[in-house]
Homo-oligomer: 249 residues x 6
């Protein structure tokens, strides 16, 4: 069930059978010459819908803008500062906690979010851990799950793309968005075929190292077909992961 | 053009002909017995897509969660604190300013956002106004436009719904989402037919005053047809407003 | 009763008969060639004193510096960032709540404060709305009332000044301060007679559009007599409004 | 010259002969059985007016609410958190710096403000000290001066009140406000005559130690005559101190 | 060279040959029945001293308190909220940047710091990435290196402790502190021998899952000898890693 | 007992006999031509260890970086902004309060910390004072004690150094660190012998006034012997002060 098209009474009913919810979280940032700026938001959004259909989970609206400061050298990239993204995560979790949700599952599409969202969880927990008494909300549990860490995904990526998978603007994520938005598939030749690798510091340094935005990948290999296979594998394995979290002791 | 399915090179090209962009901003909050929780986000999102098609404007991803503290008494409502939403607006505007955007048009779907977003604009301007020298980014201009303030909208609302339009979970906004998502149209009888009016304070007080979440409306009157008329009028008038802002001296 | 010249025991007695208080809030900013920099603070301060005498209300000290970033292009203007003003409002309201005040009536003299103070109220309410349990302070209600929105004021302004009233450095507000501080009446010719209108962005843009600081007004028409009439009408109507709020269910 | 009744053009002229300004800063807090809640704000406000007349200094509006958390156990006391007061001081100083003011003289009426305002100065300086380059505003200097530390004041206090002067709700400060507001002089017997002394922690602890709010004083000895003498001595000595700061190399 | 016992002139000389510096960062938190509360701070502190001697690196004072909210259920544990630790890292890095340091190497002793410190780096970079122009400080690079990730360490841990190494209060970290502080070696029997594993949420949940504080380890196996071997391997490999970073293009 | 080499069970035992703890707090900043950059942190650290041995007090790890913005003109100085240091103090105190500590004794080595740490205490107390109900943690008391204010210290300083003691890079503090770290004693001639005095504003101004960093001192007179005498006197007197605070009613 999508929260956005539900009524509050429907959510009230849902809470009688589950206190878990999925929040897709991504980023709005360059993804090289043929990847969408919204890649990292669209991937978890599409997968969360699939997981929702498979498991009956409630799916909140996607947090589309994440921590992308290192991509600001490329037009169209938008970032939240880590401190801002932490506040966003805190407020959304605390809002849901008021209603009785206590298993908050963030399905993540962007490596750059991991540190900040993990820190945000600690900031939320610290409200309780540093508190002294008397609050009576249920003990919250937050989990961040990267969609590409779903069990079967690595096998598909490796089999199909091998060393060309890369770590930014990867073949897999571009494929997944092509499967979801086939009208926007873009054919672009890559030079060099496989992009360089290197460390990530600020936006100017990033642009200097990675001229067209990719890191280590050749997303010219991306395809709708690969995206479909990835989608099916990821939805299957993430559904299992979500249910385990929702029912965790 | 949707930013989410564009590449950074396409945005770079866009910036050669325009430095304006639309950011839809809404809320995730109860909208009475037959309105979607995402109503306030879906309305500007749908309209922004129409304005984008009409004018060629670039459309950023929707800010789906806004300032909705007064709705937290109803399951599924999610809020950002005003201070958090201000930081979100600041970071997104400053990100876009780095790329050369200097006309940021927020298309708003939620009355509760007006104060906070307006304050955020002042916070952004204050960075320059309190600064002392030397920054060389273009002078930024931010505008918040409520979709329901588009010129022709009031006439349609009044003609079709009269006194039943109300001010929260209005007939017009519910109609607009029904037009956009006809599969989710919900038939619910309202008791009383027209909801009460009153002031807004915190969430507990809101729930006490407005038992099913509506204020002053009878959204049982909402329809796909009304939504379509509202959509056409609003896209037409907001497109004109957007272009005037984009070209303002 | 003025809080500043009362003792704490007198306030303790007051609280036995009322839990409402008036906080005048203004700004310290240019008001054109013949208006005081303190206009927006002095107007609500003077009126609050009158309302206090009429109704017996307790009047807190004036918040003299508000949100005036757009006036920083003119010497002597002082602003708080919106985030700072929000913190000021929060702390003052929470201080008063500890004593048992639960109807906080902000009498406002500056349009530029409206968004920020309204956002501050939501920030205060969000402390409760996002909280989870157990707090036992009385439900707070905050109200912002612009003095110029008092019922009878528009009639006087229109009758006396018509189109020359304007929207910044208005004839009415200058008149009201002249009535309160007749020793400081200033005779200055205005060029052009009626100042231009336009949108408000940052301080540099403001100065470019509004060369002497006024917007749409000809405050050369201001007078002590007009100020006296405005004072009497405003005190009468605002007293009624304050009492209604203090006794609201 | 009072900033509140000046025009921006008058401030522009002032800046041609001086870049210094006085900001009175106080507190709104209980001052025992016969002292005004506004004592700490009214003292520097009244003295600053005198210094302004003596030296020609420009006087900004009083910051009436300061850091008074320890007084919150007594009705009517209002505090800013230290972090809030720091932001207020920062914004006001940065506003003035934009206009070219670079000697900001805070005339203080409240011991509880000293730490916070001093920390605020460091926060302001840190903006420059931690900055890396290129800002071109004049080097700012901020000074906090407690009115009771004016050279001649201690002699008067000691001669007139001796051991009954105390450290909160002192005979001197109550006298000074009685001189300024003789209509509000209050006759109250004190029990015990001289209040106890002790350390200051939070508001509950303060109330437990100091039952009527005073610390170490017997303000029943306060008088209009003593206030007048203190006023004259303080204005004379603080004027000299202000001028030395304004002209410091 | 230790910064704490150097003079500023010695640092000025150092900066002529290197712009890199090591900051040990740890935590103050329970480490089970026989581990020191300071384990995570002492390990990087001791190793940094060794690396400093090996490479000539300048070593800043240790950040002894880190992000340890999940340990607050055990007496003596002290945490910074993630937002606080981020501010600490920012200020220290910006201070060093003013002097010309541009390779800041954080040697980390605590897994719970990783997310927060990584987020802090992004917050620092975002100051530049979101900035618009003109700042001229050198491009900063920050690196976080966990001492236990030094190349040779895993081999030693595995050979000596195997499955008893665990992930909190590990045999290796306890050994390293025993080597450094042999006077404080504590003999305590563990029940069960190997502690349980599990996820980490807030402090109450942590205490419920991990009764004596350990996770997955049997630190009764820790020894001074093992500590010495770990020390030698870690200093050797981390010295190489530090130099590579200091000289990175 | 040093917290860093204790186990959590040992702290749990300690809490049965005392709820007081010592936190040494200093700074990392230039101390002239022959003083250590860590002087202000090492002095309270060394003394706290002595007090701990004398009284049995538990000693937390030193806060080594304090508020030193004015020293940033000299290489190696590191500062926290006041707002950051306040957050550090808050979090550490709140962590300790959770365990039942309610007498937090900050032994301070740096004049520049006084305002900020004092403001931090008020920020901590304000959490309670502004709170409305129900929290049940013990009433906290925080005390800041400058080591040089110990009763006997002034006598030693005056007798040994007279007018050459100064106020930054003083003979006494340099002596104390020489006693603690005799291997690092530095022989440097001072020009002029006694450094100038003056006010403190930002870092650039400081460097302009105080060319080698000292204020009013001739630390060439510092010696290990003087350090030892100071150590003995200070430990003796501060131990008495600590115990009085720990047992205060």
């Amino acid at each position: 069930m999508q929260l956005q098209t539900a009524t509050w009474q429907e959510v009230e009913s849902y809470l009688k059978r589950s206190s878990a919810i999925i929040i897709p979280i991504g980023s709005t940032e360059q993804h090289g010459p043929n990847g969408f700026i919204g890649t990292d938001a669209l991937c978890p959004q599409v997968l969360a819908q699939g997981i929702g259909e498979t498991t009956g989970a409630l799916v909140a609206p996607t947090i589309s803008v994440g921590m992308a400061q290192h991509h600001l050298g490329f037009a169209g990239s938008i970032t939240l500062r880590p401190s801002t993204l932490m506040a966003v995560v805190q407020d959304q979790v605390n809002s849901l906690a008021r209603h009785g949700f206590d298993r908050i599952y963030f399905l993540n599409g962007h490596g750059g979010n991991i540190a900040t969202v993990t820190a945000a969880f600690s900031e939320i927990y610290a409200e309780s851990s540093l508190g002294t008494a008397g609050h009576n909300r249920p003990a919250l549990r937050c989990k961040l799950r990267n969609w590409w860490d779903a069990e079967g995904v690595a096998e598909v990526s490796k089999r199909r793309f091998g060393a060309a998978e890369g770590s930014h603007a990867t073949c897999s994520e571009v494929s997944l968005t092509y499967f979801a938005y086939p009208d926007f598939v873009k054919k672009v030749a890559m030079t060099p075929e496989i992009a360089p690798n290197g460390p990530i510091y600020d936006a100017d340094d990033y642009r200097r190292r990675f001229a067209d935005g990719r890191i280590g990948s050749n997303p010219a290999l991306a395809s709708v077909e690969a995206g479909e296979e990835l989608y099916n594998v990821a939805v299957r394995d993430l559904s299992r992961d979500y249910l385990a979290f929702a029912q965790e002791d």
